[in-house]
Point group: C2
Chain length 266, copies 2
Amino acid sequence: VLLIKIGGGKNLNWEGIGRDITVILGDEPVIVIHGANAFRGGLACRLGHTPRTVVSPSGVPSVYSDDAAMEVFLMAYPGVVNTRLVAALRRSGVDAVGLSGVDGGLWVAKAKKAIPVRDGGKTRLLEGNLSGRVDRVNSRLLRGLLDLGFTPVISPPALSEEGEVLNTDNDHAAALTAASLSITRMVSLFEAPGLLRDPDDEASLVPRIPGRDLESFREFARGRMQRKIMGAAKALELGVRSIYWGDGRGPHPVLDALEGRGTVIE
Amino acid sequence: VLLIKIGGGKNLNWEGIGRDITVILGDEPVIVIHGANAFRGGLACRLGHTPRTVVSPSGVPSVYSDDAAMEVFLMAYPGVVNTRLVAALRRSGVDAVGLSGVDGGLWVAKAKKAIPVRDGGKTRLLEGNLSGRVDRVNSRLLRGLLDLGFTPVISPPALSEEGEVLNTDNDHAAALTAASLSITRMVSLFEAPGLLRDPDDEASLVPRIPGRDLESFREFARGRMQRKIMGAAKALELGVRSIYWGDGRGPHPVLDALEGRGTVIE
């Protein structure tokens, strides 16, 4: 099984990704995990709920999710983006089934009601947050769908043990999902050629990172790219052997990534 | 298998429905099909897209779906309402999996791009409509999920043969879904005790309708209730034997309906 994680940008080539997946399905089953951050952000503004980005004490940004933000999240992730992506993949000939982490208890997360945030020079606790990290994957539904020949297409939210719907870090959830199915190869697509030493210079691509050196590359990573590095480290720790980062905007996003044209971590 | 169709009102007792389903699951598998009309309507207003209701020449109202309306539709149906319903059912102990008619090619509909509408005294064609009636159900995904012990929870949209996402009549889709699985008993819950001779008088409940007399009861049905009568007629035509209409607001919506406390059609 190949796990393909797709970012939430607005310039991804869904058609090309769909075509690539049909090629890969000739050899092995595929699971897709995707984001919807750009759509969510635009929708939140239209609804007058500007997303509130908070920064953790270690400098990693994330979106604070109160009830209103969670409603917008559901509209964007399992609502518009997942449904349109499943329809696009089906048009490419992929027998896709859309899921969220709630379905079949797939992603169980621990709610982190109060989050430490950097506020000026100080750290304080922000309450009422509806997010949490996936700490258990219930792969029974995925195995069942793969056995039937379907391609699962998964988006957040996750569900807490208490049954609350939670925003969750997709890179971490992808690592645990891969581990739950003993997946050894993952592709991660976003709107850049791979990890760049200089985010403003696409020629500064890092072609290969040995897993043991991953942490040292966090210095090149800005913003959300830091989460991708942490997610990749988690995936390697849990048994994934090769992670292919690639450009989701090109003509063959998945096949190019697998051929090592982005950043390969192993 | 018992098929439970739930309307899109805002006063339904989800918790009671969840409790009832856990009781029924002791005897037989369950499939849920639900709407989200009230939520969709409120959201459309918040986004400045007031839903446009059109009336067919035979007097049946429906919502005209252009691109913008379809986006709001996806936010409401597979987005907020389906995900929250699956989470609520899981909190009740139901191993629920949310689906839309797009997933696994479940509901294939024929797009009705131009719809005849009554405009004053005349009938004219309205173009650019993204809706259509389900004419084929691909039950493979449902059978697979039921075999694995999951409870599928389905909402529109459907998918056209060309892969377009379409709004669709839920009562008609429910009838075809029942037929595709040789289901003989259906429950339909909404915000009324059943079919009323006088919509403003809950004491005017019609307790029983022989299937052959169903058409004659269309005179009592106002607005969307007409679709329920047409959907029930379709279900009977396709082999369903008993249809239980009941009040989704009560303490035991499903069990009360099955005990004949609403309107029983057979």
